[in-house]
Amino acid sequence: MKRIVRRLLPALISAAALIFSMAAPSGFSLTALADTTYSTKTTTVTIGESQQRNQSKTVALSRLQSVSSVSVNTGSVGYSVSGSNVTLNVSNGSPSRTYTPSETATASQTSNSNSFPATVSYNDGTYSGTLSKSGGVTTNPYANYINSPGGYFYWYASDTSLNASTPPWPVSYIGGSSGNGYGGGNPSDYPAEYAHNYIAWNGGAFYADWAGQNVRQVYVVYDHYSPSYTQGYSGTVYAAMQYYYTYTVTVTYTTQAPSISLSESGWSSSSVTVTAGISDSGGIAAQKWASGNQTTAYFNSGGTSFSGSAFTVTTNGAYTVYARDQDGNATVSGITVDHMDTAPPTGTNSLSPSGWTNGSVAISVTASDSQSGVKQIQKPDGTTVNSSTATYTVTSNGTYTFTLTDNTGNSASYPVTVSHVDTAPPTGSATLSPSTYTSHSVTISFTGSDTQSGVATVKKPDGTTVTGTTTSYSVSTNGSYNFTVTDTAGNAATVPVIVSNITQMVSVTHPVSAAFAINPNASPVFTAANIPLTNNSLIPVKVSVQSLAEIAGGTISLKDVVPTKYSDWSKLTALQTQSDIALGIKVTETSTGPNTWSEIDTTGPLYAANLTAGTQMGVLNAGGAGNLSLSALCGLAWSSSYTNQRQLTLVFSCY
């Protein structure tokens, strides 16, 4: 048996598969497997003898799938298919036989004269030949038969069965189609002469009514005015040669393959039953299934036979069902089983608010299951909702576990972590600049901190609010200054900052008197002990000289002069020596330090003659000690011992 396998183009397969997939929203999809194997059948159709060279014949082929081929024993053949009917069109065949028909034909000639030829030709369009006179001449008083319109005629009518009446024939009514002249009135009034007076026949049909019968056709009209002589003729005439055709057509065709309709059972986590509706009017010879997309050839040796209309599978995927009918037609159909659902639902969540809060947080969980769908969500408190969404409100951070269950029974824990609930107030710390005692303002550098949501704003003691973690605030008096820290979640805390290092209390210890000595015989001539200063204050103190001037009480009065008054003080006369002196004062130390001066402004002598009240000598650190020292330029010519008294006035002020 010749087998024809028809395969669709792969592109069509894909397109069809897509269409099926989209058209199966109920949970399974069918796969259009384009592999059907057909067995061919042959039938012979005889198109009976006919003079028609081109003939058609329609034959019904049961369960016709398609016509594979058509052949004919002669000529050519074409065909068309409509359902299970195949119309065969044969043509141009050779005649199967020929035949020349003959008959005895009669004819007559009518003439106004009684003179007729011995023979007349006969040709009725089918038969033709020569007729010889037959019988004698007859006279016809009713004119000649006319064949063409025009004029006035007697009429002769017959019924439609050509049952002629004998004219004149009682006709109750005669009429004609529009445009034809016809007479009117009662025909009985014109038994013989009726027509010639009234009929003006232009061709076409006449209509007559008589004997209670309607619509009879007038066939023959005779010329009333042309009485004639009629000679009959007869003879054998022959028609044209006839050709007879007989065709034998061989039709090769295939019958319909089995049909397979597949469906799968509902969602299951264990097995899915595939229902295979297989039908074939010719009966099923074999039915199998196999996993994957298979061809019919696969099932020649592969596949699993099953009986009945269902089989069971345990995994999702493509399956192929195969069926072969009694004719040997085989086909496959695919199904994608996707009702095996072993995957639990998945979840997404949203938190409201999503940002930091010091209140509650609503957890909205949305479960999704692409297979059997979501059945329910169990909330962390154990309650369940039969929905794919659930909302659960919490007031503290933590991990909250929801249980998502699909319609197959698969379930999964879905933990949601909430970590943006912040109910703890922020804290803050501050540093003071300077952190040591000062007579000036103190800058408070404040830093808020919050380990969770973070610091949002800091409100200063003056009520202004700054965004961010840090701010600074300057104060000039001791006291407690409140900073209010607010975190992102809205928690607020007031943090007092104590400032107690501002002071303007000055306390300096110094000698009540100091001595200098001028000994012109010694070197150096001028000696003076340091004037120690100890700053007992908590803050640095500025040391200034208000005055350095002679006071009463000495045995000699010496005038303070500028040191440049004499170019060489060693050459002063006794009078000059005992009149002038350039007495100066300076800071003894030459370098600063934490325990002494923080600033030295007068490293050279500040002479009394040049002194401006309030001249700053330096700054003593808090708790620091430093020295002032006297120096002098003086003459040597001291003729006697003297005493001289002066007063040094120092000013100690906040720095």
Binding site: P520, N521, G554, S570, L572, R646, V651
Partner: protein
Amino acid sequence: MKKGFKKLLAGIVTIAMLTLAAIPVFAANTTDSGTGSVTGNVTINGTISPLTISVTHPINAAYAISPDAGTFTAPDIAVTNNTKTAVNVTVQSLSASSGGSLTFTDVDPTAKSWNTLSLADSKKYIALGILAKNSTGWSTGYNTSTHWAVNATPMMVGLLNPAATGTMTLTADYGLSFDGTYTANHNLVFLFQLA
């Protein structure tokens, strides 16, 4: 014949030694306290010592009168100022003193006719003077006059700068009638003063 000289200086040196020992001594401390600014007073007590005058000079000088030769010879008297400052050199006094075989009476050089003086007057009168020998060592403006012993008024010779040495010399008018060898003494007193 030689005459002896003495000087007058001891009192001044003693004073200078006492002032060198003076040392400044501090008094007690005080603490000044207040708000913002306080004033502290320190009394400065100055002690001034006198300058020691130091001059080097010979403690005696001998002169000789030779009547036969008609000469009066005497060594230079050099005075060196060791003081830190300049000092004025004054001949405070030059007067005859006892202790020799003769004791002259100082007279003005114009008071006698020295070449005709008798033995007795030669042994009694002399006009002895002292003067700067030259300008060396002396500051400009030194005194070129002669201080005669008969004059009681001191005579400043000149200013000696520190480390400078000025030279003085003796001069005399005298008689020639000496009948033997005699000795006579004069005291020469300098006054050194701070300039």
